[in-house]
């Protein structure tokens, strides 16, 4: 049965309307970054008639230690990402490949923690870090990002690990290999797409994380980009050209990473086993 031409036009119209709704705010934001010395709300007509230039980007990059905060965020994100990936893979492997008494109980306990919203844990998490004497350190922040996120990454990876055929292990086992060698030589390489997807999630989750960073980090020189962006906005709120130039710089890494890797994205959780190793 064929779909009529009018229907096709209608469907495309709906989808294109969606594109406008989702893309237009970004376009308007980017155009605003080209507006020079906008100390008051720029008129829509001004915004639409700008000439593209990088002036605001250069000003913002050199203002208020912005480049320092950018580097801070790279450091915080890189370590948190590597740590989350490593710990998630390790734990998921423990759950996927071994049987031991109490495994189901432990896994269900993990599952239950996901049903309680993370935001309510900020206060006690802050108290834990405070008791460890790690307030105002990246170590404290990393512990929360990595330790607090391991349940999610374990859930994500476990399904992939369980779909890896056991026969693959045999060659390693025949050489007398240990479970560690199986982990490193079979499980990790076999689940690269899943690890890559998780890496991107971890990147985005940490790169834009605001509340924990605000709670743990007090020192101005240690601030991360989201905090700096908020402070920047409080200080230059009416200079929209600057605020949005800073914003564009802040979101650019995430958007680029996503666009470059999105074809390799994999989903897990609800359709475990549906993917091929």
């Amino acid at each position: 049965m064929k779909i009529g031409f009018a229907w096709k036009v209608l469907v495309y119209a709906v989808l294109l309307a969606g594109v406008v709704v989702f893309m237009f705010p970004f376009l308007y934001m980017i155009l605003t970054t080209f507006v020079k010395s906008a100390y008051s709300l720029p008129r829509p007509r001004e915004v639409f008639s700008v000439v593209p230039n990088l002036d605001n980007y250069i000003i913002v990059w050199n203002k208020n230690n912005f480049s320092l905060y950018f580097r801070n965020s790279i450091l915080v994100t890189a370590v948190a990402m590597a740590g989350s990936l490593f710990l998630g893979a390790l734990t998921a492997y423990g759950f996927a490949r071994f049987t031991f008494p109490g495994k189901e109980f432990l896994f269900r306990l993990f599952l239950l923690t996901t049903m309680i919203p993370g935001v309510i844990n900020i206060i006690p998490q802050f108290l834990v870090i405070k008791n460890m004497g790690l307030v105002n350190t990246y170590a404290g922040l990393w512990l929360l990002y990595i330790g607090g996120g391991v349940v999610g990454s374990t859930f994500f990876l476990r399904g992939f690990f369980e779909s890896i055929p056991k026969e693959l292990e045999e060659s390693v086992l025949m050489d007398g290999g240990s479970s560690w060698r199986i982990f490193v030589h079979i499980y990790l390489p076999q689940s690269l797409p899943a690890l890559g997807t998780l890496a991107i999630f971890a990147f985005q989750g940490t790169w834009e994380e605001y509340f924990l960073a605000l709670t743990i980090i007090k020192d101005e020189a240690l601030r991360t980009l989201p905090i700096a962006l908020m402070m920047f906005n409080d200080k230059y709120a009416t200079n929209y050209g600057w605020v949005f130039a800073a914003s564009v710089i802040a979101v650019l890494p995430g958007v680029l990473v996503y666009i470059l890797f999105q074809k390799k994205f994999v989903q897990s959780g609800y359709n475990e086993g549906a993917l091929k190793g």
Partner: protein
Amino acid sequence: MDNGFRKRLHIGLKQWAAAFPYLFLGVAGTAVFVIYPMIKNILVSLQDYSIMPNAENPWVGLDNYRMAFTDPNRKFLMALRNTFLNTLVTVPINWFCALVFAVLINLSFIRFKITFRTIYYLPIITSWIVVAFLFRFLFANGEHGFINFLLLKAGLIDKPIQWLANYWTAMIVIWLFHIWKTVGWGVVIYLAALQGIPKDLYEAAEIDGAGQLQQFWRITLPMLVPISAFVLINLVNGAFNFFPQVYFITKGGPMDQTQVIPSLIYMQAFNNFKFGYASAMSVMMGLIVFGITYTQMKKLSGRRLL
């Protein structure tokens, strides 16, 4: 001790020894940074807690809980009401839009499927803070705020709206912000599910003479039921966890009217240093969300969870 038990114990310990090196760090991290905080939350909620070193932190029983309900400013009750309102408004819209967009993108004659998906997902990967700046900018007061400009041009209003200065208009901005930012998630999940429906089901239906619409009602929708459970649970959870949506757009204003529980908790703890009170609200919120998620997951997935 009989032999069988000893043997089982021996095997169990051996199994634990093999798995332990892999599980230790993850379990320890979860215990210290997720499970212990939950317990600590309950303890703090029963105390008049101060973060000062050597503070006494006396036990006050349920006083903090009582305070939430007897506060003359009704902040907690207002936040609770907003949370339910946010869920009631955003979940159906979010869910419906996600389903419709995904089904349309998945139609066989549509080209540039990946491009559509990427664009719809773009708000998800942009940070909450930046999108909040953007929405505050688009919904700015005065006739030069873009939304006001559009509405004035279209003749729908005759004077600019002070979006964030009034309760209902501020709530509308918060809802639009949330829906715009998150609908792409549902689209991507539904697209993956649609592509997972076996093609031969449609071929068989075609042979039996079923039309497109019939195929949609008889095959596509039933096949999407399990994934819809997953999507709805997550949307409800997302709506309950409104925090950046409120904190970055209104900071709870005007006059704490748009506050939700998470933003109220955060501001009571870290701006007013009322840790006990904030923890009591946290415990209540945790119980509510847990109750909802648990029953939904149990009912919808039909699986045993505990």
